[in-house]
């Protein structure tokens, strides 16, 4: 079914119960993400951007409403099933890079793959992806602490791509980088999108959002 959206939110709400009263992070959000899109999600802090991204990434389930990932309803799934979706169908890129400090660059990249596949083929695939994001072979065995911010983020992108996910989710991918390095990272994401990868990116930087072809604005938990 080629016409099917990658993601469909139907009246999705997320409410966090707090002692001071419930906080409505997302309020009946309905949206779709089609294959090959490059979407920037923008909005002030506390608007619900992160909650939206967590739900898209199967890290959380909605309080009400339905979320379809490639036609599959996820809000009733078990933790194990959600984890499997994250592992096989979704790639995450975080603002803090979030590499595993005990693993070398190439081991970080192959991590999602070795959870399911053999180490040797994972290594080959990891190297292939790392070269695709312009990482120098000499850096492969370095630990994250020995890499610059831009290099770390490239490693993180390679890790997100290693399982050939349906959906690449980025949370302020350039937030911790200087503008030059940030542009380089955005070029990589844009190139991945041109190759057909669907990208959803949370940012509050309009310059970064300009790389996207569609912008979703979130204000007070609603799509504005």
């Amino acid at each position: 079914m080629s016409g099917e959206p990658i993601l469909r939110f139907a009246e999705v709400s997320k409410i966090y119960p707090l002692p001071a009263g419930d906080v409505v992070a997302l309020d009946r959000v309905t949206l779709t993400v089609d294959p090959g899109e490059f979407i920037a999600v923008m909005g002030p802090s506390g608007s619900g951007k992160s909650t939206l991204l967590n739900l898209m990434g199967c890290l959380d389930v909605p309080t009400s409403g339905e979320i379809y990932l490639s036609g599959q309803e996820i809000s009733q799934m078990s933790d194990d099933d959600l984890t499997r979706l994250r592992r096989d169908r979704i790639g995450f890129v975080f603002q803090q890079f979030n590499l595993i400090p005990l693993l070398s660059a190439v081991e970080n990249v192959e991590f999602p793959l070795v959870l399911t596949a053999g180490r040797e083929e994972s290594r080959l695939r990891a190297i292939e992806v790392m070269r695709a994001v312009h990482l120098n072979d000499a850096l492969f065995t370095h630990r994250p602490a020995e890499l610059s911010g831009g290099e770390q983020q490239r490693v993180a992108i390679a890790r997100a791509l290693v399982n050939d996910p349906d959906l690449l989710l980025c949370d302020e991918p350039t937030g911790n980088l200087d503008s030059k390095t940030g542009s380089a990272i955005m070029e990589i994401l844009a190139a991945e999108n041109r190759e057909g990868k669907t990208v959803v990116m949370v940012t509050h930087d309009p310059g970064v959002a300009a790389y996207a072809r569609r912008t979703i604005r979130i204000v007070d938990g609603r799509v504005a």
């Binding site: 967590n54 990434g57 890290l59 959380d60 933790d79 194990d80 984890t83 499997r84 994250r86 592992r87 096989d88 995450f92 975080f94 979030n98 595993i100 400090p101 005990l102 693993l103 081991e107 991590f111 999602p112 070795v114 959870l115 180490r119 890790r159 997100a160 399982n163």
Partner: protein, 397 residues
């Protein structure tokens, strides 16, 4: 496996912490294994000392306060069995031979050394029946000579014909008794054996301190006991009647209690070690919270996170237990040798060595216990790590 790699690397990253936690397990394993082996060598030694005379019924005076336990200090209180009751016992024993005796102690002097020794005064005719002879003669009737136990003879280099002083009187050694081991009825190895007449001549007529009934047929033990009980204890408890099986049981119960106590001490030290592993693992999980959140968000399942941390505690446990196992094998060797020295004087056969299988058994038990404890201690932190909410964990600073 990447999770084993991660566990190993994390332990290496915190070398000091890991080594300290391991040392705890080493100490616990050594404690359990060596105390267990010591306990079992103790019971081997005592088992060797207790000569297994299963054909004996021992009749002792009943003390109102006595528990019937030969180790009970109240058993040492003066009490006796009257001549009349001895007659009743002999009657009840029927065809089985009943030997009444006095047990006393006397000042003993051999050349320049003096001390106290136990004296068994036994009717002359019963001495050959009860005691085997190694050398010399049995004392007869009113003869003034005595017989000495073999270990006493060895220690003072006594031979038939030697002279010793018993209670200030110089007497001749007539015979040497064969080594017999610690028995439930009499322990003649360090004692002096005299005839009943010898004793009453010097101390006047007395009531007896105990009666030993040797049954000719083991199956008669219960009948003999019941018959004696019928005869004498009809109105009130006058005598206690024990057979060797019961007394051996008491010995072994005591030894078992000591063993359990020793193992308990070892167990406590391992418990302390497991608390330190628990502590190390909780620290490890806490400082790696963000990393756990990341792993979970990019596809590591709960059970994989759980396993990663269990590997850590398992590795600590295995390394600690292997090191501890090696050390305790060495410690056990020396510890048992020193126990052997301690008891060498009492040991009958001198076989203080512990069978290898016992050593291996205790070391294996201690190692298994060490590994098990580590895994159990690591389970709670590992479970906590697995249950972390990925989103919150990811945000953890």
């Amino acid at each position: 496996m990447i999770f084993i790699d991660l566990a190993v690397r994390n332990l290496r990253r915190h070398k000091v912490r890991s080594i300290l936690a391991t040392v705890g397990i080493v100490i616990g394993v050594v404690a359990i294994a060596s105390l267990g082996i010591m306990g079992s060598s103790l019971s081997t030694l005592v088992g060797g000392m207790v000569s297994d005379v299963s054909d004996t019924v021992l009749v002792t005076p009943h003390l109102a306060a006595s528990s019937g336990d030969p180790f009970d200090p109240r058993s040492a209180l003066a009490a006796s069995i009257s001549t009349k009751n001895v007659g009743l016992i002999e009657k009840a024993a029927g065809e089985h031979r009943a030997v009444p005796m006095f047990v006393a102690s006397a000042r003993l002097r051999v050349r320049d050394t003096s001390g106290y020794a136990t004296i068994y005064a036994v009717p002359a005719a019963d001495i050959p029946f009860l005691i085997e002879r190694e050398a010399g003669l049995y004392p007869q009737g009113r003869s003034s000579g005595v017989m000495v136990g073999s270990l006493l003879a060895d220690e003072f280099d006594l031979h038939p014909g030697s002279r010793i002083e018993v209670g200030g009187e110089s007497v001749r050694v007539l015979g040497i008794a064969s080594e017999r081991g610690m028995g439930i009825d009499i322990n003649p190895d360090y004692a002096i054996i005299v005839t009943e007449d010898w004793y009453t001549e010097r101390h006047g007529p007395q009531d007896y301190s105990r009666v030993i009934v040797k049954v000719s047929d083991l199956s008669a033990i219960e009948d003999v006991k019941a018959a004696i009980d019928q005869q004498i204890n009809r109105r009130s408890e006058v005598v206690d009647i024990l057979d060797s099986r019961e007394i051996l049981e008491l010995y072994y119960e005591t030894i078992d209690a000591i063993n359990i106590f020793l193992l308990g001490i070892g167990g406590v030290s391992l418990l302390v070690a497991s608390v330190s592993i628990l502590n190390v693992m909780i620290i490890s999980v806490t400082e790696r919270t963000a990393e756990i959140g990341l792993m979970r968000s990019i596809g590591a399942r709960k059970r994989e996170v759980l396993r990663m941390f269990l590997y850590e505690s398992l590795i600590l446990g295995v390394v600690g237990s292997v090191v501890g196992g090696i050390i305790s094998a060495v410690v056990a060797y020396y510890a048992s040798a020193s126990i052997g020295d301690l008891f060498a004087d009492f040991s009958v056969s001198g076989e203080a060595g512990i069978p290898l299988s016992v050593v291996i058994g205790y070391v294996a038990f201690a190692m298994a216990f060490g590994i098990g404890t580590s895994v159990v201690a690591g389970f709670y932190p590992a479970w906590k790590a697995a249950q972390l909410n990925p989103i919150e964990a990811l945000r953890y600073e």
